[in-house]
């Protein structure tokens, strides 16, 4: 068997080898290089040195900060997400459907743009809200300092709570209402039911959402970079950035970065493993067919106050920062009052049509997003096909390699790509767009694999067999039967990659060169350089592009479904 398999090298084997090669080059090599650099010192394996790096006050502090921040965000995000999920699914809150959609909006907005807005509003001396309190209301000092643990946790919570919100509202909606009704008829009141039945049953969803928040917060670069670094609050990704950028490639700083990256990878893997366990073992079968709506809790006197709370929350976390971005983007100089004579369109014009730096950034992001999405979409179809449909040995490796970046934070991928493509193997792509493209492919491959595998699993083998039985060759069957059927999955994969890539910061900030800024990098560096007004204007334009993109997909996807 082994002999014959080795001798026969047909289409499946070719596809398989190509997929493996791509994943090895793009994913495996960079990852291995990180571990290698972290543990291999002066020609031998060395753990003591790793521990020494970890005990260094700077790294130790960053690890601690990552822990504090992610635990904080997880707690607040879980409480906020669960509360709102319950509110829009189980009470008679007015405009529930609209509220539910609005609570999902933060998901498509980049957190670092939000952080930027909050910096403009709540930085201790220059923030508009703080200044209003000090200048107009006569406060002695700022009301809130956004450059703090609390500030970072609050801003991240605003953008990450939807992880829990989506999971919990989904579970509450799908849950069989008779599970609660049978508790009621058993004599339990609503409070007892919520405590003893409802919450335990949705607990796996709450926990799984909470772990996702933790995973993202732990690996999150933007908010901490904008709000923390100023006062010395570094987490793991920001310290990796610091090490790579400030120390111009010295061995010691690269080692520190790889050690930090290793810690990040292990933590992320642990979190995902835990989440997987909760989902597979703890998920109860609480979904059933009967169509009676679950009892809605009558809020009575609290109905309007809670509606006001929801609207205030949305106004405060979505409308206010977005408006701030656009307003500041239109100021003649940062710090002026928002009066008509201080406002101008010149900034936007300058950014879009005159300034090379920002025009390049927009062009880079769009072309990088498009190419990464296209390449990953096609590669994803082929690899998914091998994983889902083909009987080749060792496809487990493919699956593992493809999904690996899902648990690997962006800064780690970027670091790995730097190690692999900075001339070590004779190819130096550093400071070119190509290195960013490779990193994007590695980063987003998992998205494509998920969408395409799901689509391919719907295509039953018998469909291809029927085509073969009708006289089609394998290639014809693929072209005429399989590809048309998985096209929706491919389209989904394309947008799942294109839109996040447009607003990406964590990866490109580690890889950009003088002419290869992305939109995210340009916004970030302009802000760092004190060009707050231009930074805000570009952020505003980015928001418009992102929202247009999201609306376009919704149109495309809903059009597909109805057809």
């Amino acid at each position: 068997m082994g002999h014959r398999a080795a001798l026969r090298f047909g289409t499946p084997e070719l596809l398989f080898s190509l997929s493996v090669a791509l994943l090895v080059i793009v994913v495996a090599v960079p990852m291995l290089l990180i571990f290698f650099n972290a543990f291999w010192v002066d020609g031998h394996f060395n753990v003591a040195d790793v521990i020494k790096v970890l005990q260094h006050p700077e790294t130790y502090k960053a690890l601690l900060n990552s822990l504090i921040l992610s635990v904080g965000v997880t707690i607040t995000g879980t409480i906020v997400g669960t509360f709102f999920a319950w509110l829009v699914t189980r009470t008679d809150l007015p405009f529930k459907k609209t509220m539910k959609l609005l609570f999902l909006v933060p998901f498509m907005l980049p957190a670092f743009i939000g952080a930027l807005a909050w910096k403009m509003l709540l930085s201790p001396r220059a923030g508009y809200i703080n200044r209003f309190f000090m200048d107009v209301l006569g406060f002695d000092g700022p009301v809130f300092n956004i450059y703090s643990y609390a500030g970072i946790i609050l801003v991240e919570t605003m953008y990450l709570f939807p992880f829990v919100f989506i999971q919990v509202s989904g579970a509450l909606e799908r849950m069989d209402p008779t599970l609660e009704e049978s508790a009621r008829i058993s004599g339990a009141d609503l409070f007892t039911i919520t405590r003893k039945i409802t919450i335990p049953l949705v607990m796996p969803s709450i926990l799984s959402g909470a772990l996702l928040i933790m995973l993202y917060s732990m690996a999150h670069f933007g908010t901490v970079a904008v709000l923390g670094v100023e006062t010395g609050i570094y987490n793991i990704p920001t310290l990796i950035y610091e090490k790579i950028h400030q120390s111009a490639g010295s061995f010691a700083s690269i080692r520190t970065a790889t050690v930090l990256a290793t810690v990040l990878v292990i933590t992320a893997a642990l979190i995902l493993w835990l989440q997987n366990r909760i989902l597979s073992k703890g998920r109860y079968q609480i979904i059933a067919g009967k169509s009676f709506r679950p009892a809605e809790l009558k809020l009575r006197g609290l109905r309007i106050p809670l509606l006001v709370l929801c609207i205030a929350y949305i106004g405060f976390t979505i409308v206010l920062p977005t408006a701030t971005i656009f307003m500041v983007g239109g100021l003649k100089t940062y710090g002026l009052q928002f009066t008509a004579e201080n406002m101008t369109w010149v900034n936007y014009k300058h950014i879009l049509f005159e300034w090379d730096l920002t025009r390049d950034a927009i062009w880079n992001s769009i072309s990088l997003g498009l190419s990464a999405a296209l390449i990953t979409m096609f590669a994803g179809v082929i690899i998914s096909y091998v994983i889902v449909k083909m009987r080749v040995r060792g496809k487990g490796i493919l699956e593992f390699l493809g999904m690996l970046p899902f648990s690997v934070p962006g800064s780690v991928i970027a670091l790995g790509v730097i190690l692999a493509w900075s001339g070590k193997f004779g190819i130096n792509l550093y400071n070119t767009v190509w290195i960013i493209l490779i990193a994007y492919i590695a980063r987003y491959m998992a998205f494509s694999l998920k969408a395409n595998s799901a689509a391919l699993e719907q295509v039953h083998d018998s469909l291809v067999e029927a085509a073969r039985a009708s006289g089609a060759t394998m290639a014809q069957a693929l072209r005429d039967i399989v590809v048309p059927l998985v096209r929706p999955g491919m389209v989904a994969a394309f947008f799942l990659i294109f839109l996040p890539a447009l607003r990406e910061l964590t990866v490109s900030v580690l890889l950009y060169g003088p002419t290869t800024r992305t939109i995210g990098v340009a916004i970030y560096t302009l802000n760092e350089d004190g060009e707050t007004v231009y930074s805000a204007a570009l952020a505003g334009i980015a928001l418009i592009i992102i929202v247009l993109g999201e609306v376009l997909i919704k149109r495309l996807v809903s059009g597909k479904n109805s057809a």
């Binding site: 009704e181 049978s182 508790a183 009621r184 008829i185 058993s186 004599g187 039945i197 059933a288 067919g289």
Partner: protein, 352 residues
């Protein structure tokens, strides 16, 4: 004496009247099944009795206790009604063990610990679940889960048991077994049962009386025999058991079917009000039509299917196809042969 009383109960969902002025009185220890096609209002009625839905008109009482009343603006929430209830989708809680599922209603009532344990064990014993007490309900079969639900309902020693299609999620062979078990438990504990089902054989086997509903309106309430043997209208006739219908023109002396005049079937003329209308529907169960060599309504055998003990005939009379079932011991006509049909127990209904 009526124990459960529903008086002139109505329920509307927007423009739709789901239940229309329903009267139902159930005696202590009686089992009444509500039967009807989906959307007929039977489940809504049960939910109003349980207290999950309030009513728009009328009142519901059990014994001397008022449960819901429109005129007195009174509504007792389900958790205070003290009913046992079993749902179609089992509704056992997957995060609690079998024992804790059954003990839940007792714990909610804050009974002494020893009593909780003894009553839970008793309920488990009656449902043959003692050995599975520590198991998770997810490890049980559908029948096992439904037993847990039954035990949970039994634990509070209810006077009234509400069953919402409790057997329809089960495999057929479990269904029959559970049917006997429910009946057995009722005999032992003497509770009244209000039972919702769309399965007529289930309703027949379990209940003392059957209530047939259509579009929110009660069509007939009676013993299984009454409902089967003397359906109140054509809908009930068709809904319960197999049926065949023939349109007939009516004159004072006899009937006309497919252009041929016949005497009254089995000498039974329709009631005067149908006779006055000039047309009527002649109805019969397929087993209650005999083949006769002389006389009888003429038809042609279209198809003949052997269903084991029974032979199923499709016979064309004019443009109408009739179904006739005979045991294989009766020598019947062959396919495409013409035959005479005699209605042994004819029923007359108005047209439309």
């Amino acid at each position: 004496m009526a124990y459960i009383e529903l008086n002139q109960v109505s329920k509307r969902f927007g423009q739709v009247t789901a239940v229309d002025r329903l009267d139902l009185h159930i005696a202590q220890g009686e089992c009444v099944a509500m039967l009807g096609p989906s959307g007929c209002g039977k489940t809504t009625t049960l939910r109003m009795v349980a207290g999950f839905d309030d009513l728009d008109e009328g009142e519901i009482r059990v014994g001397d206790k008022l449960l819901s009343s429109k005129s007195e603006k009174f509504y007792l929430p389900p958790e205070q009604r003290n009913f046992g209830m079993v749902f179609q989708a089992f509704a056992v809680w997957p995060h609690l063990s079998v024992f804790e599922n059954v003990a839940f209603p007792l714990r909610v009532r804050k009974l002494p610990k020893a009593e909780i344990i003894s009553r839970t064990e008793q309920a488990l014993k009656h449902t043959n679940l003692l050995s599975a007490a520590r198991a998770s309900p997810d490890d049980l079969s559908g029948g096992g889960k439904q037993r847990v639900a039954l035990a949970r309902a039994l634990a509070i020693r209810p006077d009234v048991m509400l069953l919402d299609e409790p057997l329809s999620s089960l495999d057929p062979h479990f269904r029959e077994e559970m049917r006997f078990e429910i009946k057995d438990l009722q005999r032992r504990f003497g509770f009244s049962i209000l039972y919702v089902t769309h399965d007529q054989s289930e309703a027949m086997a379990l209940s003392d009386r059957i209530l047939v509903m259509k579009a929110g309106v009660v069509q007939q309430i009676g013993t299984p025999l009454e409902v089967y043997g003397a359906p109140a209208n054509r809908f009930v006739f068709e809904f319960i058991g197999l049926s065949c219908f023939l349109h007939a023109g009516l004159t004072p002396s006899g009937m006309q079917i497919a252009g041929t005049a016949y005497p009254w079937p089995n000498g039974m003329p329709p009631p005067p009000e149908i006779l006055a209308a000039g047309t009527g529907v002649l109805a019969a169960r397929p087993t209650e039509v005999d083949f006769v060599s002389e006389g009888g309504i003429r038809g042609v055998v279209m198809r003949k299917a052997y269903l084991g003990e029974i032979i199923d005939y499709r016979i064309k009379v004019g443009e109408t196809e009739l179904r006739v079932q005979k045991t294989r011991r009766v020598a019947g006509p062959a396919v495409s042969e013409s035959c005479g049909l005699s209605f042994v127990r004819p029923q007359w209904y108005p047209v439309g």
